[in-house]
Symmetry: C2
């Protein structure tokens, strides 16, 4: 997908907050989400711009868009964000270009839209973000070798990274029903595990962790039996969000014969805004080089000449704040600084692998990248790595420390794509506060 006027760093919005330095949502981003306005049960499709939300339903009703862009807005009005995600990339591209013009400070459409501000623009702080769409299928990958290796060492495995890991983009099916949108409080689950004294116990789950990941939303699906080839995989990727794969490592490590289950399926948080693949176009980077000591990648996963099968330059952080820190008005501590570039498999490879056996992906399906840990200490992207599974607690300000997450802790994930000469774009936040478990 070539760069076009919607990527032009010189263009500015008529909304001041869209031009603010450091905003996640400049004119060049235009991520999509679903929201409810105050006092209304209707779920609407919106586009984040600065500190506002453009109401795509109101835009449609006011007939501000033309031609293919208007058609796409009509589809959204009829079927919600999922219907929009199912459209071909060309339709989404038209919608993006149309909305871009509505929000520019130097277009006629922009001037007309500005006059309708109270009708079509809503204060982001006043809307209630929802999950972008119904998510039927959720698959979580394990695409960081750094994460895999550190976990293997913590468990004392003779071979920390299994041989298959070099050839297989390892993944498991997660639970879609318990995915929640950023801001939803997460209750510590009850669970079963083996305590240090050897007893098998059931109670408030120990070793609660966050895992900093990104989520990849599928746009168009594939029919069962027909794989998506790597060269076409980007056509099925609608966009990206942030994802926190909450886990109780105590439960996970005890139950894990056939993969993660109750240790993870109590909740997964995602950020509400989907940054589209087209918005990410200026930030493309090549797929990571494979270590020469690794076996060559099999042809069906060989990025080789497929320029759109690479990754994006996205930096990510995880921030932790405790109840005490919030009471003392202390800023959250940045505990992880990492980047999507550290993964050894790209989103396109994940799509190609997932469908290589004919498994059908569907519109609105979500793929998690797995914990995005990097090679350095500050790029360890979960408590398990940061504290060596609780054995080396993390020192926080005010004399506190954490081996694992405590009740009242809040984790916020953020991300930002950047490239020289381009306006950086952000992903908003993925926020979750831990509540104490209920008595079972």
């Amino acid at each position: 997908m070539p760069l076009n006027r919607t990527h032009d760093p010189q263009r500015r919005g008529w909304l001041a907050s869209a031009n603010a330095v450091g905003t996640d949502f400049p004119l060049q981003n235009l991520p999509l989400g679903s929201f409810k306005a105050a006092g209304s049960p209707q779920v609407r499709v919106g586009i984040a711009i600065g500190e506002s939300v453009l109401d795509l339903f109101a835009v449609h009703s006011a007939r501000l868009l033309r031609a293919e862009a208007a058609d796409a807005a009509a589809v959204a009005h009829e079927g919600g964000l999922a219907a929009l995600m199912a459209l071909p990339a060309e339709a989404m591209s038209s919608l993006r270009a149309g909305v871009f013009d509505l929000l520019c400070d130097d277009t006629e459409a922009g001037a007309r839209t500005q006059g309708l501000t109270p009708e079509v623009l809503r204060d982001a702080a006043q809307v209630q973000m929802q999950l972008p769409c119904a998510i039927r299928g959720y698959t979580d990958f394990l695409a960081s070798e750094h994460h895999t290796e550190r976990n293997g060492r913590l468990k004392g495995l003779a071979v920390p990274v299994p041989e298959a890991y070099r050839s297989v983009p390892v993944a498991y099916h997660g639970r879609a029903s318990s995915i929640v949108v950023s801001g939803t409080e997460v209750r510590r689950p009850n669970g079963q595990w083996k305590a240090a004294d050897g007893r098998v116990v059931f109670g408030p789950a120990d070793a609660l962790d966050f895992e900093l990941e990104m989520g990849i939303f599928i746009g168009q699906g594939n029919p069962q039996g027909l794989p998506v080839k790597l060269a076409d995989a980007h056509r099925h990727i609608f966009g990206l969000c942030l994802l926190n794969d909450w886990s109780s490592k105590a439960v996970q490590w005890w139950e894990q014969m056939l993969g993660p289950f109750l240790g993870k399926n109590f909740a997964t948080s995602i950020s509400p805004w989907i940054v589209t693949q087209e918005a990410l176009e200026p930030f493309r980077v090549a797929a990571p080089q494979r270590a020469t000591s690794h076996p060559p990648v099999l042809p069906y996963l060989d990025v080789g000449r497929h320029s759109q099968a690479g990754s994006w330059n996205i930096d990510l952080v995880a921030c932790l704040s405790t109840r005490q820190m919030r009471e003392r008005n202390q800023a959250a501590a940045v505990v992880t600084q990492t980047g999507l570039r550290h993964l050894c498999w790209t989103p396109a490879q994940m799509v190609a692998h997932h469908t290589s056996n004919g498994c059908n992906l569907e519109t609105g399906d979500l793929l998690g990248t797995g914990t995005i840990s990097g090679p350095h200490d500050d790029s360890r992207a979960c408590m398990t790595e940061l504290t060596s599974a609780g054995r080396a607690p993390l020192a926080l300000s005010g004399g506190e420390s954490r081996g694992w997450l405590a009740d009242g802790d809040e984790v916020v994930l953020r991300a930002r794509a950047s490239a020289p000469g381009h306006v950086p774009i952000g992903f908003g936040e993925c926020r979750g506060l831990i509540l104490p478990s209920l008595t079972y």
Copy 2:
């Protein structure tokens, strides 16, 4: 749930095929399914009776039902089988009683219905069965210790059954999108695995297997964060079906770091008729006794005094026919004869465990039991066990043998619940024919 007139073995239907000895669908069964009539795109809700299907939409339109039964039929007419499944057990019970009377040979309602035969009854051979409902969540358990132990031994594990297995109803999330209804042909997937010579290859997947399981459909769900206690678990079980968990063991054993993924998610077949929990009531049996050498079950899974947390007396068979056998008009070979009683965890325990951490189940979710292998050689319920992972091929008639499933092989699963003094009821069939893989 006490027995009532719908369980009375003395009652007979006015439809001859409902009274035939050995029918799966006597008057006392009344399983629910979704179907399309020839030439119509509309999905309708039906009830199997003998060799016919009672069209619940037509019954609704003809106003044959009264009171709560009519209300339930209206819900089905409006929202399909999923809407019916979401109703409380009492509503389903009313519908069952109402439909029972319509089909009895000694009721006024029966006489009235018989007069409307061409309108409300369809020939089962002429309708196209569909998946009962949209399945969003699919979880597969591993509830046969016999299966677990034989697999562990085949892999040469020092401890064939891990310690956690005694305490945890082990499960993994499966792929819902690729679940297909009986009769759908199953294409051998392409996949990646490690060949005997040590090379990692990608191609038509080796070691293709069936796994004989049952599926448990969830009726009413639970809100996220609120576990279903064991005493209430039966209230969330709508009914049971047959399930074939097709697997490529070559792919599964190579990829499995975080559980089964591409080795299984290309297809899962289920039988189209859901036998309701109420229909199974006469066939209840106690939960299996735990071996005294095993640790005591944790309280949240202790069936103890919960009489409805047990299992049912259901016998199951798997039949295999090859292309040659069909060409020679030879009957399919019964390769497995087993029973639900061999499982060490009950469906109610599965529901209680799955939700114990607050994970939310939703109407239409499907839980697989895992391969229902028993202690005896003839109760091994997959090729892996039957052939010691291909090393001891199964001899078939006509000089054929199978280490694994071959292209053109067809597997049919059947099941039957029985108890002294009661009319046995069956599950229909779960049928799947293996097609050769496509060139990738």
